[in-house]
């Protein structure tokens, strides 16, 4: 299954803004660069690259999480 995914990515077969693919790629880049990743940055980057409207839908939840200090804006 992973093999098929990788082939598709190499051939550039997935829609450029498909959120699932974008998430995986951003995850990959972030881990390569920083060694760890932060969920907040990840979701932000994923949404910006694929479909920013996702962020709108998450505002409510995001605010609640922020209030409970479950979101870290920086790496802990």
């Amino acid at each position: 299954m992973y093999g098929l995914k990788r082939e598709a990515i190499q051939e550039g077969l997935q829609p450029r803004r498909l959120p699932v693919a974008v998430l995986a790629q951003e995850f990959y880049h972030m881990v390569r660069r920083r060694g760890r990743n932060s969920e907040f940055s990840l979701v932000l980057r994923m949404a910006l690259r694929s479909n920013p409207f996702i962020l709108l839908g998450m505002i409510r939840t995001g605010w609640k999480l922020f209030r409970k200090s479950a979101i870290c804006l920086a790496q802990r």
Partner: protein, 300 residues
């Protein structure tokens, strides 16, 4: 006092903060020592593996080698995805010589020891095997004031490896909670997927999956769902508001980590268990855990 190496993973430092807090508190009460793995890196989870398989194994191998170097060979990985990827790396490095050679070479180049002898553990399995339901039963300090719960295992810790539990009708979490005096219900959907990252990328599908899980838990008269995975907990927790809006049905279940439930019953400090971090079910949480805080403090 047995020493475990602790691999938090990225999500326990993010939305899964309550899991880390309650895990540390619970292990402290049980007298098990957890030493955070120094300079750990992200395990890669499924995303990394799907982009670059070759180096995906190296990410996990580095973590396991660091544990070996620290002479702390049992690595406890609470997050289901971390557990699975680390466990898979440990398995594949032995089973597939090509991967084993690749990993061995890179570790040697980074001046890290080989992987032999390092075991990947999950806190649920550590409690079941190393502590045991009987001992947990003896250590109970507070009665459970809440209602019956549904134990939700999620998909990753029960397949394909069965050290944590079997994939068809797992019951170990139920056994531990029951030994601690927490009543559980029969929950047929205990290993059905919560959607994982789909709630972010394909939102409607993700929400629907969680709706099915919540609906069945309520149908079985569970008053809370107890999970082992930070992503499962987040999904079940965060989707409830939208489900309420979408269906008009009243869902407000606390979604707890099993470490929170056990931690409370075994007498850990309630403030340290991260109950306030849950989004849904706060009313029940306040009733079950906070009103008893004063009395509980007298016990502790």
């Amino acid at each position: 006092m047995s020493a475990y190496s602790y691999f938090p993973g990225c999500s326990l430092r993010g939305t899964g903060a309550a899991y880390e807090e309650s895990l540390l508190a619970l292990f402290h009460v049980l007298g098990l020592s957890l030493t955070e793995l120094e300079d750990w890196n992200c395990c890669g989870a499924t995303s990394y593996m799907s982009i670059d398989e070759g180096s995906a194994f190296l990410l996990s191998a580095r973590n396991l080698a660091l544990a070996h170097k620290a002479k702390c060979r049992d690595v406890v990985a609470p997050c289901s995805a971390c557990y699975l990827v680390l466990r898979k790396t440990q398995d594949y490095a032995v089973r597939y010589p090509a991967i084993g050679a690749h990993v061995g070479k890179s570790l040697a180049a980074a001046n890290l020891p080989a992987l032999d002898g390092v075991r990947v553990r999950h806190p649920l399995e550590v409690l079941y095997n190393d502590v045991g339901a009987d001992r947990i039963h003896q250590l109970v300090k507070r009665p459970w004031r809440g209602g019956p719960v549904a134990c939700y295992y999620g998909c990753q810790i029960v397949r394909p490896y069965h050290e944590v539990d079997r994939d068809c009708n797992p019951t170990r979490m139920d056994e531990l909670l029951n030994a601690a005096g927490v009543p559980t219900v029969e929950y047929a959907l205990k290993t059905k997927c919560c959607g994982g990252s789909l709630t972010g990328t394909m939102h409607e599908i993700g929400v629907r999956l969680n709706y099915v899980l919540l609906k069945e838990a309520v149908r079985k008269r569970a008053q809370a769902i107890v999970t082992v995975c930070p992503l499962c907990q987040y999904n079940l927790d965060a989707c409830q508001a939208e489900i309420r809006r979408g269906t008009g049905e009243r869902y407000d279940l606390p979604i707890l980590y099993f470490t929170q439930a056990l931690g409370w019953v075994l007498g850990a400090d309630p403030e340290a268990l991260g109950f306030s971090r849950s989004i849904s079910g706060q009313k029940s949480i306040r009733q079950w855990f906070s009103t008893a805080t004063e009395e509980a403090k007298a016990y502790v």
